[in-house]
């Protein structure tokens, strides 16, 4: 019996795999963390940089480049489908700067009710203007920046009630 897994990498790729799907990969363990892989006769040196068995998350470097891998099994998929997953968009209470930049304009103020997709503010980074949209419906509790302010990545921008 082979359990199918969904294996996602860097949040960008998603592969359906089970134990059998590993067969075409010729993997030889070199030591506790290094595995040499032959795939279609191509040689890859890989290292497991970090692992968390309970969260099913692994960090693997392939030819020197790191990849974040998350494995989900049928049960995880079911939980996620039913919406019981923690940390979904609805629960976001804080908006942080996705990159360092300059606050060009602010479209909301404290107490405003906003819909999902409403423009909150404009962040300029590397000469490009990025409109930060609201990920949820809600009421603005706090605007933590002012116009003209330079912010670092992850700087708090807006807080929801």
């Amino acid at each position: 019996m082979s359990v199918p897994y969904k294996v996602s990498v860097n949040g960008e790729w998603s592969f359906e795999m089970d134990a059998k799907a590993l067969d075409p990969f010729d993997m030889v363990r070199m030591d506790a963390s290094s595995i040499h892989v032959l795939s279609e006769h191509q040689s890859y040196k890989t290292t497991i940089l970090a692992s968390d068995f309970h969260k099913k998350s692994y960090r693997v470097s392939v030819s020197g480049k790191p990849y974040d891998v998350r494995i989900t099994d049928a049960l995880d998929a079911l939980i996620s489908d039913m919406g019981f997953e923690v940390g979904s968009a609805r629960n976001i209470s804080q908006i942080e700067a996705p990159m360092p930049g300059l606050i060009l304009d602010i479209q909301v103020s404290e107490g405003d009710a906003v819909q999902e997709g409403d423009a909150l503010l404009v962040l300029e980074a590397m000469k490009m203007e990025n409109v930060i949209l609201s990920p949820r419906e809600g009421v603005v509790k706090k605007v933590a920046v002012t116009k003209g302010m330079a912010v670092d990545k992850k700087h708090l921008l807006v807080e929801f009630e």
């Binding site: 990498v9 795939s39 494995i71 930049g101």
Partner: protein, 481 residues
């Protein structure tokens, strides 16, 4: 000369200071408020904050920098590249204030900074130039006449324009009239001036430049060529020396032409004369850059010369310590500019924090670097993190070493041009030496990079799953007992 102020930041500030220190010269760094934690600030013997983060309020404040230099007892100012390096007014102020400007005189900067003045200056030396008009044309009949004399393909440029706007390429006689008319009316509506320049269009050009160095005793040497044809957005990303297509005879002719260009403008110090080389290996003078170039390290590696040391010696009034016959090319060097930009997204800048930043090391690997792990890539300046330079006994060895160095170079937090460098070094056109400035347009697509990444992602997925299944087994063993 006992103390030098470096009016720059990042890797080039460090590069200059390292040589100065080797020569027993004290160094002064200048920095903006955004750069307090930058390595060049700590490397220098003294450092002064010169203003707010935007370069117009710090690194471009020439008069302010000169004032600081004077108050710090500095003897000379090295401008690096970019910022004030090609600002004739700055060079003038430095000299007027009794300091030494490590670079050419303001007149030479002025002349070479103006395309028409530069062409005029080199006229007497018979330097080959792209055939074309030396004045703006606004009469249709004259334009047609000129185009026919030059021969096809031709390039039409708006005289008042710049940055590629209003440029048209005409391949054959039958489209000539309509294209010139359209170019003129386009120029008229865009710039309020309908006149155009017409020149021969070099269809598959290579960008070849010659490093020159002139002292104040009338000696001008050339340090051979650099090939800089791999460009994106008309900016260089991969450079090498020597070029794979120059014969010793052609190298000699181009070198002599470059020396003549330097002589034409009374040049002093390090400079670079840029040429276009067409498919038939005819070369044409493009422009002269009156400063140390970003890509100067490849020249240093193949000639064994420290160009910054020579700049300083020339600025001290010394005679160049070698003759042209003493210079020769040994081996091959390659440079990749490691920019914080995303080659999968049109090479757009990718800003953020360098969550992991480890440089490659090993024989034949040089990294001119300006960043450290944990630092942010500031949004205010050029997003170049470092220059990765490799050296080998021959071209293929330098390329292989580059591939190895790229795989050792660890950057997390921002996207970089490293995967693009890997792509270039594996591409058959680059490896064979058969490429031109259209390399990126003709051979590169983000999809190819993506496909390679997807392969690796699949490997990562397989390895992680294998590990997970093994971890699972291990956990089960105790419960089965």
């Amino acid at each position: 000369m006992e103390k030098i102020l470096v009016a720059n930041r990042g890797e080039i500030a460090l590069r200059v200071m390292k040589t100065a220190r080797k020569m027993g010269i004290e160094t002064v760094a200048v920095f903006s408020e955004a750069d307090r934690d930058a390595p060049h600030v700590r490397y220098a013997d003294q450092a002064v904050c010169i203003g707010e983060a935007p370069s117009s309020k710090s690194y471009l404040r020439g008069a302010h920098i000169v004032e600081i230099a004077n108050s710090m007892g500095v003897d000379a100012i090295h401008p690096g590249y970019g910022f004030l390096s090609e600002n004739a007014g700055f060079a003038q102020t430095v000299t007027e204030q009794g300091l030494v400007f490590i670079g050419p005189g303001p007149e030479a900067i002025q002349t070479m900074g103006d395309k028409l003045a530069a062409k005029e200056a080199v006229k007497a030396y018979n330097i080959p130039m792209v055939p074309g008009t030396d004045h703006a044309i606004s009469d249709l009949d004259e334009a047609l006449e000129v185009a026919r004399t030059i021969g096809f393909p031709i390039l039409i440029k708006a005289a008042a324009g710049g940055g590629g706007k209003g440029m048209r390429i005409v391949q054959a006689e039958n489209e000539l009239k309509s294209q010139i008319q359209r170019a003129m009316s386009e120029a008229e509506s865009a710039f309020g001036d309908g006149s155009v320049f017409i020149e021969k269009y070099i269809s598959s050009p290579r960008h070849i430049e010659i490093q020159v160095m002139a002292d104040t005793h009338g000696n001008i040497l050339h340090f051979f060529e650099r090939e800089c044809s791999i460009q994106r957005r008309h900016q260089k990303v991969v450079e090498e020396a020597p070029s794979s297509v120059l014969t010793p005879e052609l190298r000699d002719r181009m070198g002599k032409a470059a020396v003549d260009v330097a002589r034409a403008c009374g040049y002093v110090g390090a400079g670079t004369v840029e040429f276009l080389l067409d498919a038939d290996h005819n070369f044409y003078f493009l422009e002269m850059n009156t400063r140390l170039q970003v890509e100067h390290p490849v020249t240093e590696l193949i000639t064994g010369v420290d160009l910054v040391a020579l700049q300083i010696r020339v600025a001290r009034g010394e005679e160049l310590p070698m003759a042209q016959e003493d210079l020769e090319i040994t081996g091959h060097a390659l440079e990749l500019r490691v920019y914080a930009e995303d080659p999968q997204n049109d090479f757009l800048p990718s800003v953020g924090t360098l969550e992991r930043y480890r440089l490659p090391e090993g024989p034949g690997i040089r990294v001119d670097n300006g960043f450290e792990e944990g630092m942010q890539v500031p949004i205010y300046y050029d997003p170049m993190l470092s220059k990765l330079i490799t050296y080998g006994a021959n071209r293929i060895e330098a390329i292989q070493r580059m591939l190895e160095a790229i795989s050792m170079y660890q950057v997390e937090g921002v996207a970089t041009t490293l995967p693009f460098g890997d792509f270039v070094c594996r591409h058959p056109a680059f490896r064979s030496g058969d490429f031109n400035t259209h390399f990126v347009g003709e051979h590169y697509s983000a999809a190819q990079l993506r496909a390679r990444e997807e392969k690796e992602a699949r490997i990562a997925a397989a390895v992680a799953l294998k590990q997970y299944l093994e971890d699972q087994k291990q956990l089960r063993i105790p419960t089965e007992n």
